[in-house]
Amino acid sequence: MVLDPLPLQVFAEYFPNGIGRYAVGGLFVGLGAGIIYLGTGISAGASTFLESTLSYASGRSRFQQYVSSRDWRVVFAASIVAGAAIYSLTLGDGFRYSTDVQVWRLFVGGILVGVGTRVGKGCTSGHGICGVGSASRTSLVGVATFLLVAIGVAQLVAAIGVSP
């Protein structure tokens, strides 16, 4: 692990796992988006894959508008899975991680994420990485909105005793 700078040790309570893991991981996430942007001019977000992939199964115009980008979005999403698998098999715990978060939370949360990212024009990668990187005011407002609401909901769910 990367050594943490001294000032952060003062706030160690808020960084029980240090910052190295997060900072290095974040650099790779930004680098991945940067590689695609430099080569293609595309701002690669992860949530449009949901709608663009549905265009294979549905003729609705809402989904068909993504036909021209759906093939590379499938490649992008599959590569994200593969990239995480490479981490897991080399530096991680060998493909053995499994979440304890309850299935109903994953499923209901997933539905809301599916609706919200599509209505709200982006997710943590589209708005958060590419949009904030573009200094887009819309994305900054979008990130502030979902971050504040998510903090409130997570605190509320924990407060009423749902765990994990």
């Binding site: 960084f15 893991r21 997060y22 900072a23 974040g26 650099l27 996430v29 930004g30 988006a33 430099l38 001019g41 595309i42 690669a44 992860a46 809402r62 021209s68 093939d71 992008f76 590569s79 994200i80 593969a82 990239g83 995480a84 698998a85 490479i86 981490y87 991680y97 499994s98 979440t99 978060v101 994953l106 499923f107 949360g109 809301l112 994420v113 599916g114 609706v115 919200g116 990212t117 209505v119 709200g120 024009k121 589209g126 708005h127 990485i129 573009s134 200094a135 887009s136 005011r137 819309t138 979008g142 990130v143 909105t145 979902f146 609401v149 998510a150 903090i151 909901v153 605190q155 994990p164």
Partner: protein, 154 residues
């Protein structure tokens, strides 16, 4: 969208970018819903470094590319910032996404990466995301006359 004029290396580059992106999500442990929930409950706020570190690196690319390069080598696009128009949908959709993220600890990119670190229960979340995306598509296709808005790339 003028994506037809693609270089043979277009797909390999998308794949390389996705691999690096997914590796980062795995390395940062953001692919673990528990870690995201700890962050949202202020028990481990290191995840801030993933979002802002990532935005800083991609922001450097967005800032420098138009200044140093004529255009992307693999498409006939131009280097443009990712700018979306602002309207109430950004707030409403952002809030709905926030409820889902706060409830489950998962977001789209991290969910795909979670599958890559072996987390099979995440398939429930991914199934949910497709159902949600489909439901909003049906809902918004009702008044199809106004559905001719330009496609976005995010």
């Amino acid at each position: 969208m003028a994506d037809t004029d693609r270089h043979p290396l277009f797909m390999p580059l998308i794949a390389l970018g996705g691999l690096v992106f997914g590796f980062g999500l795995g390395f940062s442990h953001m692919a673990r819903p528990e870690v995201v929930l700890d962050f949202l409950q202020f028990e481990d706020i290191g995840l801030l470094f993933v979002m802002f570190g990532g935005a800083l690196v991609s922001g450097t690319a967005y800032f420098l590319a138009p200044k140093l390069l004529d255009g992307p080598a693999l498409t006939n696009r131009r280097f443009e910032r990712r700018l979306k128009s602002f309207d109430n949908n950004v707030l409403v959709g952002g809030a709905v996404f926030g409820v889902g993220w706060g409830l489950s600890g998962i977001c789209p990119g991290a969910a795909y990466a979670s599958l890559g670190v072996g987390n099979l229960p995440i398939l429930w979340a991914i199934a949910g995301m497709f159902i949600g995306a489909y439901a909003q598509g049906l809902w918004r296709s009702r008044d199809d006359a106004s559905d001719a808005s330009p496609a976005g790339t995010d």
